[in-house]
């Protein structure tokens, strides 16, 4: 275009010259547009592959193979003296009762190794279930009860099709004789996939079939309570000061630069801060939600401050002027008129900050919220993990059954995140004002 007339014959009109190049330019235009479309679709493809892979791996974790066993609760085994006091009932050897019932079901099994494999069909947690049942109702002693207990994770994986029944015996975690028992149990309707309540009510466990997310979830909730109760007031106060009262000087400039930079500091550095300052200098308890909450507060503070400032900025100056005009002090104008109007925006920013804190893992690893903790934490001082950390821990575990549990925990985490973002969007829609 810059040098017309060179390629075209003498006397051609400029229109003809433009026409000659049009096909090529249109093709370039189409190619460019296609590239753009391709980029968007690749991005969306990534998202869908990610979500589909998580869901397809994880949805089975909401069901768990249970096994029906008939246990003879002989009085001489549980409570030979007949006192029925709680301590005796607690200490009785329930796992041998369950082993006995397994032997009764398969009387032909002999030999130490085979018996061991047979006992392994039932989860270790079965004995605790049985104990709880007996302690809740001691009148069961002396009877024969039939109850559903969780099956071992290998049985569970087989039932869910993650272990191939037709594979060669050497390639399979479950050997042929065990497979025969499982087939027999299935034929007797003793194996069944049932809704996995334990996943939501129990803490972590070394046995995948007993592991649940309750402990991690409570840890996360305590951590977020600490984070919210510190970062919301601090963030809002800082935003109000910077936006409404701060004089324009070096000090406030320094604060602003700091806030912008903190927003870009990698989260793991906040973990280092927590380790060096909160643990080593102030001696706060390691692994506690209190500590996690403090670290996440510092991490989410910039997000909240920036969002709150934007909300304050969007309140028109006429509101302030009107308040000042009828004799309010600047503080009264801010507290009674500007902040209430900016509150929805501040809350939206806070929810987004909390969502960020909910998904954060790296700083929590630094401050020791990564230990194996089977108990459900009861308060902000108890050692605990958090949901994302639990995902990290389970993802590292070798057992096949943890893969689906990890995916299921991810689904729960994503569910919470979606919920929080939804609330933020609704809040914005509901209270958004155009001045």
């Amino acid at each position: 275009m810059t040098n017309p007339g060179k390629a075209l014959p003498e006397g051609a009109t400029s229109f003809a010259r433009i026409q000659a190049g049009m096909a090529k330019r249109r093709a370039a235009e189409r190619r460019f547009k296609m590239l753009g479309r391709l980029a968007v679709s690749v991005g969306l493809l990534f998202l869908s592959v990610l979500l589909i892979s998580i869901v397809s791996k994880g949805y089975t974790a909401f069901w768990q193979t249970q096994m029906r066993i008939d246990v003879v609760l002989a009085a001489e085994d549980i409570d030979p003296e007949g006192t029925r006091n709680a301590e005796t009932l607690r200490k009785a050897d329930y796992s041998s009762l369950i082993k006995q019932s397994m032997r009764d079901m398969f009387p032909e099994v002999s030999g130490r190794r085979d018996k061991f494999a047979l006992y392994g069909l039932v989860s270790n947690g079965a004995a605790f279930d049985l104990r709880d049942k007996v302690m809740a109702d001691p009148s069961l002693i002396g009877t024969k009860v039939s109850l559903w207990v969780p099956a071992d994770d290998d049985v569970d994986m087989l039932m869910k099709g993650h272990i191939d029944r037709n594979a060669a015996e050497d390639d399979r975690r479950i050997k042929d004789n065990v497979l025969g028992w499982i087939n027999q149990l299935e034929a007797e309707d003793r194996l069944e996939l049932r809704f996995n309540i334990d996943f939501f009510t129990k803490g972590d466990s070394r046995d995948p079939e007993l592991a649940g997310i309750r402990g991690a979830l409570m840890g996360t909730i305590f951590t977020l309570i600490v984070t919210l109760s510190l970062s919301f007031p601090l963030g809002v106060a800082a935003a109000v000061y910077l936006e409404e009262f701060a004089p324009k000087n070096k000090w406030t400039d320094l604060i602003e630069v700091n806030i912008n930079n903190l927003a870009a500091v990698p989260s793991i550095v906040f973990g280092l801060l927590g380790l060096a300052v909160f643990i080593n200098v102030f001696g706060l308890p390691r692994s506690a939600p209190l500590l996690g909450g403090l670290v996440l507060t510092l991490m989410t503070l910039p997000t909240i401050i920036i969002a709150s400032r934007a909300a304050l900025k969007s309140v028109p100056p006429s509101i302030r002027d009107a308040a000042l005009g009828i004799g309010a002090s600047p503080m009264q104008a801010t507290l009674y008129h500007v902040i209430p109007l900016a509150l929805p925006g501040m809350l939206t920013g806070t929810i987004i900050g909390m969502a960020q804190a909910l998904g954060e893992t790296a700083p929590l690893l630094m401050i020791g919220m990564v230990a194996f903790i089977a108990d459900v934490p009861q308060g902000v001082f108890d050692p605990s993990t958090a949901l994302p950390v639990q995902i990290y821990l389970w993802a590292d575990s070798p057992e096949r059954a943890y893969v689906e549990r990890t995916s299921a925990a991810i689904m729960v985490l994503l569910g919470f995140l979606a919920l929080m973002n939804l609330v933020a969007v609704l809040l914005r829609k509901r209270f958004e004002r155009r001045w």
Binding site: F32, F46, A264, T361, I391, Y392
Partner: protein, 461 residues
């Protein structure tokens, strides 16, 4: 710890009482005629309440923060000299045992008489400290409340007093950001300086070998304790480079498409969906990279006859690129939209097609902003932790081959600091030195990016 809530409730009650009596006194000094007062009666109440609550709360916080370390120091100094002479890590074990004894947990080994005595001393100090805290906080609250109360006169400027207190509170809250930065800088700097006392800084920055395991015995093999961080920097850069080759073209093209071509409806659906990628926790990406992408790449590599490591840099980089797409696209979207409409219309008026306008007018005009956005994305990729911890390797490997396993700065920080640690070994301190590098590099990138963006923005204002 259980007493603190009770104390807080008591303090709250005291504060409410202060408010009530403050209001009442304001009425009394004005003989019930509010017009005579300088401020509304509520401000007098608030004034007294703030006086009652704030000093006491300050003391409470300081006390709780320092109580632990002071008591520990006192207990340690009461221990026999033989124990005090132990190295800091052994001493830490002893202190932990004493703490466990105090809280009634299981301790390592049989507690001896010295330990039991120390535990008793600790317990005694703790209860003394708690009682003193209780008394001091309540007395201070009462006294300072009384001071506020006694200042109430008809002409007392209670509102101004309350407002200036609130103002100071706001100032205090806004300095938290500065304190955080100072805390970060000091914590990584101090430990790094200690690290550089045992390992020269040149060896750390330019050494080619990284193997932080330190030999416990002289004849131990494979534990040389080498702290040359170049392989880590190279690994970080390799993974960041892979991530950016994924994220920049896709992010930029989708931003251009959504801003210039897409209809409002497509934009309204596709943009938030792409931004979902940024909201997904990184641990989820790590799981996806380690369990789905890495095996897939390994198998496709095997299909092509390539030997791919199971923790290849490619897998981690690809997934990290996925995560960064929305950063690039939404930041570029902002700068593309900031290009004035008149430039576009000028180009269209000259007969340029949309793609010609984008390539020859919009991109050059938006280039500084886009470069800034890319730099921000790079800083994000360098600091990203969970994806690489779960999907990249642990062993250091100086290579540019994306099919091999490499390790990164963040992976090493996590592996060095997770689990049991002694706070004096160079191994632990090395993590802080790496943290310092990470902090400085991301900060620098950020400064440069913001500088470029800001400089660019002023052109059209």
């Amino acid at each position: 710890m259980t007493q603190t809530p009770i104390l807080l409730v008591l303090l709250l009650a005291l504060t409410s009482a202060a408010y009530y009596f403050g209001c009442k006194r304001a009425f009394r000094v004005a003989d019930g005629k509010i017009r005579k007062l300088h401020s509304l009666p509520g401000y007098y109440g608030l004034y007294v309440a703030l006086w009652a609550a704030l000093p006491a709360l300050l003391i409470l916080c300081a006390w709780l923060l320092f109580q632990g370390s002071i008591i520990t120091r006192m207990v340690v100094s009461s221990l026999p000299d033989a124990i005090q002479q132990l190295g800091p890590d052994r001493l830490n074990l002893v202190v932990n045992d004493i703490r466990n004894l105090v809280s009634g947990n299981i301790v390592s080994g049989e507690p001896d008489a010295i330990m039991l005595a120390a535990a008793d001393y600790y317990r005694g100090l703790l209860s003394v400290s708690r009682n003193m805290l209780f008394a001091i906080v309540l007395v201070v609250a009462g006294l300072s409340g009384w001071y506020g109360y006694s200042k109430i006169r008809v002409q007392h400027r209670a509102r101004n007093g309350v407002e200036s207190i609130i103002n100071w509170l706001l100032v205090a809250c806004s300095t938290v950001a500065i304190l955080t930065t100072v805390g970060i800088v000091l914590s990584v700097l101090f430990e790094s300086i200690r690290f550089f006392q045992s390992v020269p800084i040149t060896e750390f920055l330019f050494g080619l070998e990284w193997s932080p395991q330190i030999a416990l015995r002289a004849d131990q093999a494979g534990s040389s304790g080498a702290f040359g961080a170049v392989p880590l920097f190279a690994g970080t850069l390799l993974i960041t480079f892979i991530a950016m080759t994924v994220a920049v073209p896709i992010g930029l093209m989708s931003a251009l498409y959504l801003a210039e071509y897409a209809s409002a409806r497509v934009r309204a659906i596709a943009k938030p969906l792409l931004e979902v990628l940024a909201g997904i926790p990184t641990v989820v990406y790590g799981f996806f990279a380690a369990l789905t992408v890495a095996p897939f790449i390994r198998e496709s590599g095997g299909f092509l006859g390539l030997d791919v490591a199971s923790e290849s840099a490619l897998a981690a980089g690809l997934v990290m690129g996925m995560m960064i797409i929305p950063f690039v696209s939404s930041l570029s979207d902002d700068v593309i939209n900031a290009v004035p409409q008149s430039l576009r219309e000028g180009a269209y008026g000259m007969g340029a097609t949309s793609s010609e306008t984008i390539r020859r007018v919009i991109l050059p005009a938006a280039l500084p902003g886009i470069v800034g956005a890319i730099l921000l994305a790079v800083s994000r990729a360098i600091g990203e932790t969970m994806i690489v911890v779960m999907a990249a390797g642990l062993a250091s490997n100086l290579t540019a081959n994306p099919l091999e396993a490499v390790t990164t700065v963040t992976v090493q920080i996590v592996t060095l600091l997770v689990g049991d640690q002694e706070f004096d070994s160079p191994k632990t301190l090395a993590a802080f030195a790496l943290g310092l590098v990470l902090f400085v590099v991301t900060l620098a990138l950020n400064f440069v990016a913001l500088y470029i963006v800001r400089k660019y923005r002023e052109q059209y204002d």
